[in-house]
Amino acid sequence: MNEGKTCEPFWWGLFSAGGVVAAIFIPIHILITGMAVPLGWLAESSAVYQHAWVKLYLFVLVSLPLFHWAHRFYFTLKDMGLKVIDKPLAFLCYGSAVVGTIIAAWLLLRV
């Protein structure tokens, strides 16, 4: 890699996109699956999960905010004094998001 150039813009782009997706779409999903359905306020139709467009949407809904988490968590831990393990920390955070993305794709395809 050239000196002075990093791959940070790439991760920042995923962080930013994940921030938008999380801000707009996550609260309503927590409200539906975490409260409205379990408490019996509303009945969910599980057939909706079979739809290809819904699967694609859910893939984006899970994947991008995971990269958002990875970026924030990584920099927060660094701010809290974990600078010494910079590289392993980055690997762990972004790696978890990559693994989560692969798992999400696999789970959605088998529904």
């Binding site: 801000a23 309503i28 999903h29 409200l31 409260m35 379990p38 139709s45 968590f73 789970l107």
Partner: protein
């Protein structure tokens, strides 16, 4: 690189105590905002288990959803929702600062940009609710 930047050992690195974020209200709010992503990620992990159960069959899925009515899970989702809302509001606030919209010569005030974000958020939430409940 031929710059005049000093060796790393000569740069000034301020030493911060681990609890610096407890010292001011704004620092604490900053930390809570950063922490919101952890709760969103936790919710998504639980959501992935839900999709796994769905793949096992309708009965497994129904049984799994029933466990969510326990007080512990409701509390978890309440806390996750609170953090998710904190993320939404703070994200829209910072977007309103970053996005400088112009109408002709006039710059659109931040409060209007913030309001537009809230409208998009509300419309998107209603659409998602409709798709997952009514569809």
């Amino acid at each position: 690189m031929t710059s005049t930047r000093p060796e790393k050992s000569q740069l000034y690195y301020p030493k911060m105590p681990a609890n610096w974020w407890l010292r001011k209200r704004n620092y604490l709010l900053f930390m809570l905002r950063e922490l919101s992503s952890v709760f969103i990620a936790l919710f998504l992990a639980v959501f992935l288990v839900q999709i796994y159960r769905l793949g096992e069959g309708a009965e497994y899925y129904a049984a799994y959803m029933r466990t969510f009515s326990s007080p512990g899970w409701i509390l978890f989702h309440l806390v996750a929702l609170a953090f998710a809302l904190l993320h939404s509001v703070t994200w829209f606030q910072s977007s309103a600062v970053v996005l400088q919209l112009r109408l002709g010569e006039q710059e659109v005030p931040r409060s209007v940009v913030m309001g537009l974000h809230l409208v998009v958020w509300l419309v998107a939430s209603v659409v998602i609710l409709w798709i997952f409940i009514v569809y």
